[in-house]
Amino acid sequence: MTLASKRGYTWPTLRQALLRLVFCAVGIAIALAATSHRGFGVLSGAENAYATCATTDYWNVSWCIYNPHTGVTKVRMCCSTTQGTYTVTDPAGYVIKFLHTTGGGTWISAPDVRSGQSWTFYQVAATDKLGCFNSQDVNIWINCRRANA
């Protein structure tokens, strides 16, 4: 006699509980994967992750919560002088800025964009940087990417 049957649990009941556990674990894993690779602002109320902005192969500038009036830039991708920049932000519909700066930090342009939009920069010097900037007064989750165009 097994422990489960001693406590009055039947096999179908246990199987149902196990299945629920598996579904729950898979759901959490999918949510975590979505957040880390193509994430959206599911952590909009969380503490600032400015110091720990991460990158992935796709979101190669950063993906993290940007504090108000902060930005992250990376030197242009090798080797085209035409660079595309693309962003996804949290679903609140905020406008953020793309940044095109010199290596020394001078802002060449900082156009407003909405989530999901792209911008193409031309004549980007090898030392120029591209990235995203939160020009709003609230924390915003921003996934930012630049690539040869």
């Binding site: 930005g71 964009v113 939009q117």
Partner: protein, 221 residues
């Protein structure tokens, strides 16, 4: 004959007087602030060559338009110069819908549909600026208006306000314009959209200004 002529003249004079009185009556029933609401100055789109952008940027936009199958490109707003300019190019997708892109001196946006441009508001303002994170050397705005907007006013950093002149798109009733300023006192600060009766429809801040907070000298990593 003379009596008939005099009677006709008298009737005409009475009718003109009545019209003038009624007009005055209707005018005075509109609140004072709304009575003098001029409609926005409108013009028609210009050729693509009117865009203030270097050839590389313009050629890139044309290539993107071809890839996105956007045709009939025209300029619906242009300001500034080749060093710091901002323009709006409109086109027509395969389905016939209007799309627009913003063009700066160093790049351009993707083509956007009106649904992507307007976020539940008859007014959409997209700004850009150059300088550093702490100082602004030049600023620009690209403004899009839904058909219900009859007049648009731009408030500058110095507090003065001017009416903007918009370009009406060929279809859909949308309009757009761009502005560029190099003098900090003239940087656009607020854009207000008004209906034909003078009612304020929407206000949007341009959010142009130093981007780093004073406590954080370098806010860009």
């Amino acid at each position: 004959m003379l009596r008939k002529l005099l009677a006709s003249a008298a009737i005409g004079a009475v009718a003109a007087l009545s019209f003038a009185l009624l007009s005055n009556l209707f005018d005075s029933s509109i609140p004072r602030g709304q009575a003098q609401a001029p409609t926005v100055k409108r013009s028609t789109p210009r050729p693509l060559t009117a865009v203030k952008a270097p050839p590389a940027v313009l050629d890139g936009l044309i290539s993107q338009a071809k890839r996105a199958e956007v045709a009939d490109l025209a300029t619906a707003g242009t300001a500034g110069n080749l060093a710091f300019g901002r323009s709006i190019v409109i086109g027509r997708s395969r389905s016939g819908a209007r799309e627009a892109a913003i063009i700066d001196s160093d790049g351009h946006s993707s083509f956007m549909t009106p649904a992507q441009i307007f976020d539940h508001s008859p007014l959409a303002v997209f700004s850009s600026q150059a300088g550093t994170a702490a100082t602004v050397r030049a600023a620009s705005i690209a403004v899009f208006l839904r058909p219900e907007v009859a007049r648009v006013a731009v408030e500058e950093a110095n507090g003065s306000t001017h009416d903007a002149s918009a370009i009406t798109w060929p279809t859909g009733g949308y309009a757009s314009f761009t502005e560029v300023a190099q003098d900090p006192s003239r940087f656009p600060r607020l854009v207000r959209a008004y209906a034909a009766n003078g009612a304020l429809l929407a206000t949007q801040e341009t959010r142009i200004g130093p981007m780093c907070s004073p406590s954080e000298a370098s806010c860009v990593r």
